[in-house]
Symmetry: C2
Subunit: 455 residues, 2 copies
């Protein structure tokens, strides 16, 4: 009987909390869907600042934009956290191929981020096609030496959660230049890590391993260009003509994380972080990667203020710098948190595009997960149902290593890898309602954790 009574009381208590929370989530939703400024903010970021690779003048302008947007949202306090970032520049680049028919054809290409190009010279060499690492490993040294190796590995379209397909294919972006260099290749071409039914090449990061002596050029080509190259390689010898000015500048550049905060009313020492990253690749407008995460994080502050919510814990929105090619912003934030002995109780990242929210990935212990799972039904009216994945975020991974529970917004993943790291990741490819609904989900989760803690 005692147990039954306790169960009933717990159920009653939980229902009580849920009813209030449900009302507050509806208020948050109405506020953002009707009066949200995240879409307008994104327009300004995309159209007035544009793409903003860490270290670039555009990134410096983005910091200014973020600071102003955070103040306009009504943060109690806004500050810049210094971060020294690398500065990679692309310059001019092109890739032509000449096959059996003798015609020189331009392929749609982008140097992979952080690579060293050809110094602007045109390098000419036969192209050797392999479909994957396994096929590459079977090539003789002669077949590789001084050749341009084309890795025609396809993004797996059969995987419904596209981040799994990305995880599978992206190793070609990171590893191919290293393994090819170590066996004497001149340069590397990969089929872009892309789900796109188009010819947009995707850039993205790689890093030369310390064991690799020659930093060879590596470029990604669009899916249609890759299809064409496959066809030509099957017809006979193909000669590639590659020119790329890409290089890493020698000096680090002073940049900043942008932070806005609402002080907690009961537990100001307990901090709930929500964030995205302010830098982007140097193509397109960095709309979905990750302008949307930035404006959604700012929207959390704005919605709290507009609704007069005084959070019990401190709520901090962070626009991290240099997620794309160094993670220096996330590392600096983590270092600062450690140095100041700050108590972070939760960190949530939104860096998977401005699409309809479908769930939250959770990286925390089972007890804390169980608490979040109790909120599941609160999110159902907003189309958010999937709390099953173990996903946090790159920028908050240093916090995760410090045992802070982390989470990541999971928007619908079907379109993300058509767009990300391309010239096509522009404002027009973000829908206003989807973006706002994502902000509703994020704000709701921040509200619940700042209200109830995470024990």
């Amino acid at each position: 009987m005692k147990i039954r009574l306790l169960t009933a009381l717990m159920a009653a208590a939980s229902i009580h909390v849920s009813a209030q929370d449900s009302v507050m989530l509806r208020k948050i939703s109405n506020e953002i869907m009707l009066h949200g400024t995240c879409y307008d903010n994104l327009r300004v970021l995309c159209k007035n600042v544009g793409h903003r690779l860490a270290g670039s003048p555009e990134a410096a302008r983005a910091v200014k934009w973020g600071e102003r947007a955070m103040r306009e949202a009504g943060a109690d306090k806004v500050w810049l956290q210094p971060v020294d970032v690398p500065h990679w520049v692309r310059g001019e680049e092109h890739l032509y191929v000449r096959g059996e028919d003798g015609r020189k054809v331009a392929l749609s290409m982008l140097s992979i981020g952080n690579t060293e190009g050809t110094g602007g010279e045109t390098w000419k060499a036969p192209i050797v096609m392999v479909k994957d690492m396994d096929e590459f490993s079977k090539l003789s040294d002669d077949e590789i030496k001084d050749k341009i190796i084309f890795f025609d590995y396809h993004f797996r379209q059969d995987l419904i959660f596209t981040f799994e397909g990305y995880g599978d294919a992206v190793k070609y972006r990171w590893l191919a230049p290293n393994v090819a260099s170590s066996r004497g290749a001149l340069a590397v071409i990969i089929r872009a890590v892309s789900t796109g039914e188009d010819d947009y090449p995707h850039t993205g990061a790689m890093r030369y391993m310390d064991t690799v002596k020659r930093h060879i050029p590596a470029v990604a080509i669009g899916n249609y260009s890759a299809d064409l190259l496959v066809k030509k390689c099957k017809q006979g010898e193909v000669i590639g003509y590659l020119s790329a000015e890409a290089h890493m500048l020698p000096d680090m550049v002073r940049s900043y994380n942008v932070i806005g905060e609402i002080k907690g009313s009961e537990h100001p020492e307990k901090i709930v972080v929500v964030g995205g990253h302010l830098d982007s690749w140097d193509v397109g407008e960095g709309a979905n990667d990750d302008g949307t995460g930035c404006v959604q994080s700012i929207e959390v502050i704005r919605a709290f203020k507009a609704l007069g919510i005084r959070p019990k814990c401190t709520v901090r929105a962070v626009l991290f710098m240099n997620e794309e090619n160094g993670l220096k912003g996330g590392l600096a934030y983590g270092d600062s948190a450690k140095a100041r002995n700050e108590q972070h109780i939760f960190a949530l990242e939104t860096d998977a595009g401005g699409f309809s929210p479908r769930g939250f990935g959770l990286k925390m212990n089972a007890k804390k997960k169980a608490q979040i799972w109790r909120y599941k039904n609160l999110f159902l009216p907003y189309g958010v149902y999937d709390f099953s994945r173990d996903e946090g975020g790159a920028d908050i991974s240093p916090l995760e290593k410090m045992d802070v529970p982390t989470a990541g917004l999971l928007p619908d993943p079907q379109r993300y890898f058509d767009l990300h790291h391309t010239d096509n990741d522009v404002f027009e490819n973000v829908n206003h309602r989807e973006l706002k609904l994502g902000a509703v989900a994020v704000t709701g989760m921040v509200y619940l954790v700042s209200e109830h803690g995470l024990k």
Copy 2:
């Protein structure tokens, strides 16, 4: 004990079925995501046929396209079912307004479907703005007589399931011309039934009530144009200049439903229908409304054939004609089913856009719903989780009236009412993965019901 044993046996049987079904759904998914032709089919329909209002030459071409696509998908049998449809034509049209500043400004407009225009003459009259029916009802007769009434009713952006917002706002498209005419108005302007952050006007159907004597012109204007008109009306008197050639042609036109079938191996007399509608409005390309539903229905046939699935029940894909402004195709199909005494055990419509699938609406009795709900977990890996809504489809509503259990695919609803019935409903606004994933959901559901029946 007997009951327990029975329950255990039933549970075991159900688990057995689920494991096989789960494997089959994965096969269906892999087949469609890797080899699906629905996206290519949609390209042809949108780019080679284009928009295709019932009765138009384009609709006749769409019938030919559908017949060929159904044969190419491998249907055992393909036939055309005659349907006589109305033929409404838009012609040239424009709307200018002149406000206090004396400047004549063009508004972005479309005549509402089925309306009668001004006979191509320019009608000039003061514009009277009301925000809703309630405000309209308070106007005096003098304020209405010979005026152009502007209903500035907004699509409710706070409703997350946009079809609820549509249901709320669309009554202005159907009713405003009727109530305004009955009180002596010259013409009607409505703010388009649109969630769009843009200036695309939406057309769509209305019907003059039998009690209404004068069939007055009625047009919809884009959201930005509506904002401008509101501003001008607040500044002082605004004169409207409306010209529209819209009219209904006197004769019905012979058209067709396109039907493709795979004969059932065990219960050929039991029919499972999946369909979308082939006609569209006379703007854009009818991509999401409802080219996507057509190509997904055809994909069901193709996937069954490609995988060598011999359905136990007969599976029929139907491309209905004239959903938009008459429903003659749906009615003809229902009449034929009744006349032939066909036994339809399930009808599924896909007519809510080619976006990521999120659920199925179900219109059937509780016992049948309970059976479908047992399949819920099978659909979760494909992002389909919501089986809570009571939604079927317009074309299959005549079957529903004959007690056939019906269902409707529920894709993510955020973008649909930005696009539908506009010049912006084009192929480029359909994503290849989202479209295919919708086809996976539809094919999976048709497979399960054709395999297990619906008791």
